[in-house]
């Protein structure tokens, strides 16, 4: 815990200027993740810029039949919105599968996808962590890896001392649904406005695990657009976790099914929400039988790397992911027929 200055500027432009001008500044929205990190010393900003009331809180219809979620709309509001529930059940379900009612009342559309990993070593400032403190190493490798990645890692048991090693997962449920929905992210940064496809918002650790996303310092999410789904498309979110509520995903699946086509995004398996493009390609046009889906997922997961560790590591996620995708797609196709 370290003192910081708090600013509540008049508009988004000023907020972006404030943060851009101070290398050690952050935006604050609902605060459900950031405030924890301030307490724990995981985040040690000099300046906190409150944007909660600056971006739109509206959920508006777009001309193309899609929806725009203002960055300040809360997770509760989005989940309860009739249009979201009818047209994008996968998103409403993902939101309702996350956190608790109280947290969802505070958490925002802008903040949720930018919440940081729950890796316990990241959250404990006494243990080395490349994401929190670049170059210190990764404590998770060979440790408690139940909630860690199986995809997009440099391999099983990567070098824990290497500065690029990170096997963390992204914890957001909402982000998995947005990945399957091909959402678009609108931002305002020091360099102006831009639109980032949601699938490209989060990154793999690459050579810098401290960066979760492609956003620049001072770049503010102003809204997220949901493109329209084709008529007759069905979608669902299935979250598998260690208790019935109030737990992060071991594996989660967002699926959209339309006319034999399927979109699959996975949570709990990688540093970013994982779009299963390989499986999608294999399944395109074909029948979505249990067998076919499992086989396609086996192909998708062929590159998966189980992480060993205390309590048996996380290898179980490989069969679990394939099974959960098959079960989710099954409910969607059964619904259809």
């Amino acid at each position: 815990m370290k003192p910081f200055a708090y600013a509540h500027p008049g508009d988004v432009a000023e907020a972006v200027r404030d943060v851009a001008a101070e290398p050690n500044a952050v935006f604050l929205a609902g605060g459900t993740n950031l405030v924890d990190h301030l307490r724990l010393g995981v985040a040690r900003p000099d300046l906190v810029v409150d944007v909660r009331t600056l971006t739109s809180r509206e959920i508006t219809d777009l001309d193309d039949g899609g929806l725009r979620l203002g960055a300040a709309s809360t997770n509760s509001e989005v989940a309860a919105d009739r249009r979201v529930r009818e047209r994008y059940p996968v998103l409403a379900q993902a939101l309702l599968a996350g956190a608790t009612g109280q947290l969802r009342n505070m958490a925002t559309t802008g903040g949720n996808p930018l919440q940081r990993t729950r890796c316990p070593y990241f959250q404990d400032v006494t243990t080395p962590c490349n994401k929190r403190q670049p170059g210190t190493g990764c404590s998770a490798v060979g440790g408690y890896t139940r909630y860690h990645a199986i995809l997009g890692t440099p391999g099983a048991l990567p070098d824990p001392t290497a500065p690029e090693t990170c096997i963390a997962t992204h914890p957001s449920d909402m982000a998995v649904a947005l990945t399957a929905l091909d959402a678009q992210v609108h931002t305002l940064g020091p360099a102006g406005v831009r639109t980032v496809p949601f699938v490209d918002l989060h990154r793999l650790p690459g050579d810098d695990p401290s960066k979760d996303t492609v956003l620049e310092h001072g770049e503010l999410i102003t809204a997220i657009d949901l493109p329209p789904l084709p008529a007759g498309a069905r979608s669902a979110y299935r979250k598998v976790r260690d208790r019935a509520s109030y737990a992060f995903a071991l594996v989660s699946v967002a699926a959209v099914v339309h006319d034999g086509d399927v979109r699959i995004a996975l949570g709990g398996v990688a540093h970013k929400p994982w779009r299963a493009t390989r499986a999608e390609e294999i399944l395109r046009g074909g029948p979505l039988t249990d067998h076919a889906v499992r086989a396609a997922m086996d192909a998708e997961l062929a590159v998966a790397q189980p992480q060993p560790g205390v309590e048996g590591g996380n290898g179980f996620k490989i069969p679990l992911a394939a099974r959960t995708v098959a079960a989710t797609v099954r409910t969607l196709t059964e619904e259809q027929s």
Binding site: P3, S139, V240, D242, S245, Y246, V310, A326, A327
Partner: protein, 699 residues
């Protein structure tokens, strides 16, 4: 034999006297005690698991505005007694486990205290640590005794011979290893203290969250070399303890030390949730090697449990895990052993039903496995092994209704129609059963004072209410002992200004304090008759209550579980949980039910969720907060029911009560594991039962 009280108030489901205050949020807990101009403490903790602190740079901390003092091992007051190494805070530079207290900052606000504590730079001479329990740990040793004064090892007959013989005539032997995880008590209210040292009067006042103000005071007096008259401990309400506030932990000593460094100024110290995973006690992980031999008809020929568990290098706590297997079932050949590894780990301590809770896991799963091997109904197998007298002592039972609990539970639960691997949609369904047990205890010391004042009977006793109901049921007992309306009785608790009371632990509170109150009430009636005068007063002591040593007093129960396992994902749900108990006479059905289903819920939590994931490389619990350390939530609990038999036990005490705080947690986890096995065919022997463990066995 005791004359049981004529129940008038006893047996009524009166609402909790402290209920409204708690619901309104106006009951004050230790750290909220309104005091003038408090200062705030934040501890500094070691970040190595073993070594020496070579230097602590506190310059940045002391330079901060609002910092009043920084105490370190190099300058802290020397304690009168360092015999209990857990309490010897800041007395040496040696680090015995990661997270150990090595300093404290006292400041004007809690924020500044925390910031300053974070800025203390510590250098260590780090040594290699040994923090991993293993069944073959080279340092395993035999403790002198295990917790609650039990023998470490017991043996009767020849288990090895029995294990070698019975197969001949269709009998069965079984050797299995089971394990329970490390658990942290995690009461909602953290361990917290407000402390005030009056240097002129040489008097210490502690508002501490504790399960016993008197034991708390005794420990503080010992450590600081104070007389009892110099210390007052106050604790009207406790936001849960589950054993972790049964003995004080190091944080209390640190708070006292901070108060003495700042005479005249009240200081507050509340542990954070994360700190509780290092400092507030926990249940040791256990490894239980079981051997069972039974004849063809299921009668046990041998039962053996060899337990391996851990303690800390600086202080021994030997969980009595093997103890319940000594007396549950009849068997001519029996053995139990306990071996400990003393590791560089935080100090383990009491957690709800120490001994019985982990110790009813391995044996009760083993009984299920045995029933399966024999092709017997697991209820029937238990019935066939019902001992006539306590196998351990040869004494008759004060009352033992295990068989009735099993039969009644089976009837209510629909056990006869139990599904075996039945599939309902996407779910595999199975039922499981296990027995519960808890000894009926009464502590040796407790005194109650009873006075007639302004038309009311006012009793005082330094008892504790952990949210359990003591505020409410002690008046019920007193009223019946006096033969007056419960509305005319007040019982004041939670203060060392009241007469000495024992700890709220071992499910002994009601038995002990209630007995003292009954002695006082009867003496009061004898002395002052039916129409006392204002100011009439008398005290009663538990050691004047009738005592029976000729019987073995235990509470028993049976728990039934329906488990559903998702055929795709292995997710486990428990839609139904039933416990049937023989716990003597129930003083207040409302608070009793809440204790029993609370215990069962905690047992469910142990079965499916709780697990302090130990990272032996660094010597700490990896998931040390409540987002990652999972405790069963509402959505995990379906129908949950606790019922009790009408049980009359004239040997235990004047109330006929056996204690109900802990029995509910015993056996539950075994029943869940047994139900999951019935649903999936997968036998999980290492808790918790999580989906990854059943996944390989799914269709």
């Amino acid at each position: 034999m005791t004359d049981l009280l004529e129940p008038r108030a006893i047996g009524q489901g009166l609402v909790r006297r402290d209920g409204e205050l708690k619901v309104r949020g106006t009951a004050t807990y230790a750290v909220e005690t309104p005091v003038e101009n408090p200062a705030y403490c934040h501890p500094v903790q070691a970040t190595v698991a073993r070594g020496r602190v070579t230097a602590m740079d506190t310059a940045a901390a002391t330079a901060l505005d609002g910092v009043l003092a920084v105490l370190t091992p190099f300058d802290a007051e020397r304690l009168a007694s360092t015999e209990d190494a857990e309490y010897a805070v800041l007395q040496s530079d040696e680090v015995a486990f990661r997270g150990q207290l090595i300093g404290v900052v006292i400041a004007e606000t809690s924020e500044v205290a925390r910031q300053a504590a974070d800025s203390v730079r510590v250098t260590y001479d780090e040594q290699e640590h040994d923090a991993e329990l293993a069944v073959d740990h080279p340092g395993l040793y035999k403790p002198e005794k295990v917790n609650a004064g039990h023998e470490t090892d017991t043996a009767e007959g020849d288990v090895a011979a029995a294990m070698a013989t019975p197969q001949r005539d269709g009998g069965v032997t079984l050797e299995r290893t089971y394990s329970t995880a490390m658990y942290h008590n995690n009461p909602l209210e953290p361990h917290a203290t407000t402390a005030l040292w009056d240097a002129d009067a040489q008097f210490l006042t502690l508002w501490d969250s504790t399960q016993g103000v008197h034991p708390d005071r005794a420990a503080v007096c010992e450590v600081f070399g104070l007389e009892q008259e110099q210390v007052r401990v106050v604790c009207p309400y406790v936001g849960g303890g589950f054993g972790s506030k049964g003995t004080p932990h190091a944080n209390v000593m640190l708070a006292v030390m901070a108060a003495r460094a700042l005479p005249g100024r009240p200081v507050k110290l509340a542990l954070t949730r994360q700190q509780m995973f290092f400092l507030a006690g926990y249940r040791t992980p256990t490894i239980q090697q079981m051997q069972l031999a039974a004849d063809r008809r299921g009668r046990l020929q041998a039962i053996a449990i060899d337990v391996v568990e851990q303690t800390s290098r600086i202080k021994e706590f030997a969980e009595q895990t093997g103890v319940p297997a000594r007396m549950m079932y009849a068997s001519p050949n029996r053995r139990s052993t306990h071996r400990l590894a003393a590791l560089d780990v935080p100090v383990p301590s009491w957690m709800r039903a120490p001994g019985e809770c982990p110790g009813m896991f391995g044996p009760e799963v083993a009984m299920d496995e045995l029933a399966e091997e024999l092709g017997l109904d697991p209820v029937e197998l238990r019935v066939r092994n019902e001992p006539e007298v306590d196998p351990e002592t040869g004494k008759p039972w004060s009352s033992r209704n295990l068989v009735r609990c099993l039969r009644e539970g089976a009837e209510r639960f629909g056990w006869a129609e139990r599904p075996r691997g039945r599939r309902e949609g996407d779910w595999l369904v199975g039922y499981g059963v296990a027995s519960s047990v808890y000894p009926t205890m009464r502590q040796a010391t407790s005194t109650a004072n009873l006075r007639y004042a302004d038309g009311r009977y006012v009793a005082e006793i330094g008892a504790a209410d952990l949210g359990t109901g003591a505020w409410t049921i002690l008046p019920q007992i007193t009223a019946d002992a006096l033969g007056v309306d419960v509305g005319d009785v007040d019982v004041r608790i939670g203060d060392t200004q009241y007469p000495t009371a024992s700890v709220a632990g071992g499910s002994s509170g009601t038995n002990t304090w209630g007995s003292a109150l009954v002695v006082a009430a009867r003496a009061f009636r004898d002395k002052f008759g039916g129409s006392p005068d204002d100011g009439d007063e008398i005290s009663g002591d538990v050691d004047q209550a009738a005592k029976d040593d000729a019987h073995a007093p235990y509470a028993f129960g049976a728990q039934f579980v329906e488990a559903r396992v998702n055929a795709d994902t292995g997710e486990i749900r428990v839609p139904r949980l039933l416990g049937v108990f023989g716990v003597g006479r129930v003083i207040n059905p409302r608070t009793a039910r809440s204790q029993l289903i609370g215990g069962m819920t905690m047992g469910l939590s142990m079965a499916l969720h709780e697990n302090s994931v130990w990272d032996p490389r660094i010597g700490q619990v990896a998931n040390h907060d409540l987002a990652e350390y999972h405790i069963t939530v509402n959505a995990d609990v379906g129908e949950i029911e606790a019922v009790w038999l009408d049980e009359h036990d004239p040997y235990v005490n004047a109330m006929g009560s056996k204690g109900i705080g802990e029995i509910g947690i015993t056996g539950t986890a075994a029943a869940v594991v047994n139900a999951v096995h019935a649903a999936t065919g997968v036998r999980v022997r290492d808790l918790p039962v999580t989906l990854d463990k059943v996944l390989p066995g799914l269709p």
